[in-house]
Symmetry: C2
Subunit: 415 residues, 2 copies
């Protein structure tokens, strides 16, 4: 039996109890996790330093190191996130609807946990805690497989959390970490039909593609964000500079960061130098079309097809000068990953057209794509951002980790 089979069996064996747990019992476990994280902060940071040292040796980029690094504040934020979850409404047991049929049968649609959730993710150790806490609150068992870069951190975090849930009266196996970070364990998780009810990959485009290509269990695609901003003819150009700068440079390593800027041809001469001046403060590399190069000069790297399709997650932005909103929409339809796109405009007509026709999870008018996030949207927490249309789209909270079930009560009705 493979390690994943064995973990899946263990999760299956204890999913019933966590599924049936009361909100109070689950909240108690979350408080225990928060407490344990604070108490073990020193050890967690020590484990994280092992990961960081190794990453630096391996020449990891600054933005990846930023994802990997923990400090006291980040551990405190993890603990706070667990505490905050106790204040959120528990979706499990909600009655979504129902009716008494003409024949007297009573139908009730109730919200129930998914069962066992698998998470495959990359270098951010906070995902280990976020995912475990969200699965716990929504009544699910979870199997976590983080990246090898964060292995020491994740082992320590899982150990701390397993101890805490046990203290709260649950089997520790409701939270399991796959310590073998080989390609094979990921593949096994993707095909764990009958053991894992839902698989959520969080990471770069390569991981997501691999999961989509290979998974035979239900999957939610998340987080690949080739996000666009379109600066329309009527845009407030100063606002457009702020939004582009914020989208690109405030935290370039995350999925809702901007990757591409489309500029209406009639304001390109004026806007592009303003944008460049601001982005220069962060040494952002500009990969642009011919027109961009004509306006901004030799600093512009010629953009390839690939650049327009790419999620840089770095201080790089692709730029294209377009005819109008229609060309912008068509460009987005061709290159976007369906995450978040923004139009900066003062035209009501173009704003509505853009929001109606752009087929992405979050479509913005005059605000930063960086807001596509569970907390910012008011969900209270987030396990990922879905870029597919099935089940969940955009930031996913507790409700998206549950499903429904029909209960039908009768007195001998037949058809």
């Amino acid at each position: 039996m493979s390690v994943i089979d064995s973990m899946g069996q263990k999760a299956k064996a204890c999913k019933g109890k966590i599924a049936a747990a009361s909100t109070a019992e689950k909240n108690l476990a979350l408080m225990e996790i928060a407490k344990a994280l604070r108490e073990n902060c020193g050890e967690i940071l020590k484990a994280n330093r092992l990961d960081l040292d190794k990453a630096r040796e391996n020449g990891m980029s600054q933005s990846m190191l930023d994802r990997l690094a923990l400090d006291e504040k980040r551990v405190e934020n993890m603990a706070k996130a667990c505490e905050n979850l106790t204040g959120l409404q528990d979706p499990v047991g909600e009655i979504e609807g129902g009716s008494v049929r003409p024949n007297g049968m009573r139908i009730t649609k109730v919200r129930v946990p998914m069962g066992v959730i698998g998470m495959i993710y990359e270098a951010r150790p906070n995902v280990t805690v976020d995912a475990a806490a969200l699965c716990l609150k929504s009544g699910n068992a979870v199997i976590l497989r983080g990246g090898k870069e964060a292995l020491s951190s994740n082992i320590k975090l899982a150990e701390v959390m397993r101890g805490a849930v046990q203290k709260a009266g649950f089997e520790p196996d409701i939270i399991q970490l796959v310590e073998d970070t080989s390609h094979e364990t990921a593949q096994l998780m993707m095909r764990a039909n009958g053991l894992i009810d839902l698989l959520i990959p969080r990471g770069g485009a390569g991981l997501i593609r691999s999961v989509v290509e290979n998974a035979t269990i239900p999957v939610i695609e998340t987080g690949t964000g080739n996000c666009h901003i379109f600066v329309d003819e009527s845009a407030d150009l100063q606002m457009a500079v702020e939004l582009t700068d914020n989208g690109k440079t405030q935290r370039p390593s995350v999925c809702n960061a901007l990757e591409s800027c489309l500029v209406h041809k009639d304001i390109a001469e004026k806007f592009l130098p303003m944008m460049k001046k601001r982005l220069d403060e962060h040494n952002v590399e500009i990969r642009g079309c011919n027109e961009t190069a004509r306006i901004l000069g030799s600093c512009v790297v010629p953009a390839t097809e690939e650049d327009y399709a790419r999620e840089f997650l770095d201080y790089i932005i692709s730029v294209k000068v377009v005819e109008n909103v229609d060309e912008a929409i068509a460009h987005i339809a061709k290159y976007s990953t369906g995450h978040s796109e923004c139009i900066v405009t003062n035209s009501l007509e173009n704003a509505e057209k853009f929001q109606k026709q752009v087929d992405s999870a979050a479509v913005y008018v005059n605000c930063s794509t960086r807001f596509t996030d569970g907390e910012e949207f008011g969900l209270g927490a987030e396990i990922g951002i879905s870029t597919q249309k099935l089940h969940a789209r955009g930031p996913m909270g507790l409700r998206e980790l549950t499903t429904i079930k029909f209960l039908i009560n009768g007195s001998g009705q037949i058809r």
Copy 2:
């Protein structure tokens, strides 16, 4: 370019218009389809006779012939189903929620069509009309691939519907039928990433397994129903006979038909002969455990592991005598496909335990599993019955053919 690529491109090109259509425009198209079905009933039945003749030549079973056969009443029912859809609420454009955030950003969560839906199904030609009509009403373009057994019927039905939607002002390509029913076109549909937003297979276990194994686009597993009835110690035995008979024999070829009967050991001696007497009226073959054979005698075929896992879709039922409700629940956890299960009992405790612990889409107390159906549940219509937990579970109506999108409007907000 493959036939599926080409159809996918055509669907993609016209999905915008059907997605943006008003409810009135879509209802008009549905009325045109109903009218056209009635006007062309003779031709439809002629095409269906070609399919039936071929099927008989090929020795198709009676219950499969029942699925394939159309008559005036069935065509009239298809037309009526289209008309009925006009009375259902259109989920597209519904505002699911939203808020104004502390920074003044306005977030609106709106319901939108999926885009392009693919359907792969088997011998029932009515699915061609049902699926097209439901996709139309929910603002989606559809690519239909029925079974080769129903090809003549499906070609005629698609032709009639395409003419009707064109009359109503839509491009006929919002409804496309794959006429090449080779294995290859199904495979291509399963991997049509970027062209088909959602794939719904409807058919036997083999088809569903193949889709789950091979699809790289989002899928909803449907309809494999290894449905169980558990006759508890305290059951009203006459009711249990009625429910077993209804579940097994009223229409054995459908997914909510009963396939397996579990009997509490303390009432087995009394119940099994009653059950057998009733099932004998339909010559139902009983595949039972040793205890069943001891009680009912040599008419019982010994049940194999495979029999307990199988969806017979025929006048065959597997039977097992069990210790108690816990063994029944464990048996169901092992063999069920998660469709519909029923307990016949007078024990409130066992009824609640069964409904809580059985992890299936529909869990019944004292009524027939045959009710798992969109119409019977009051959804007004149904495109299939999901046996997965992602996105939809149980009977799926219009809402399950849509997704959501976040619209965010601001005035320069940054993070």
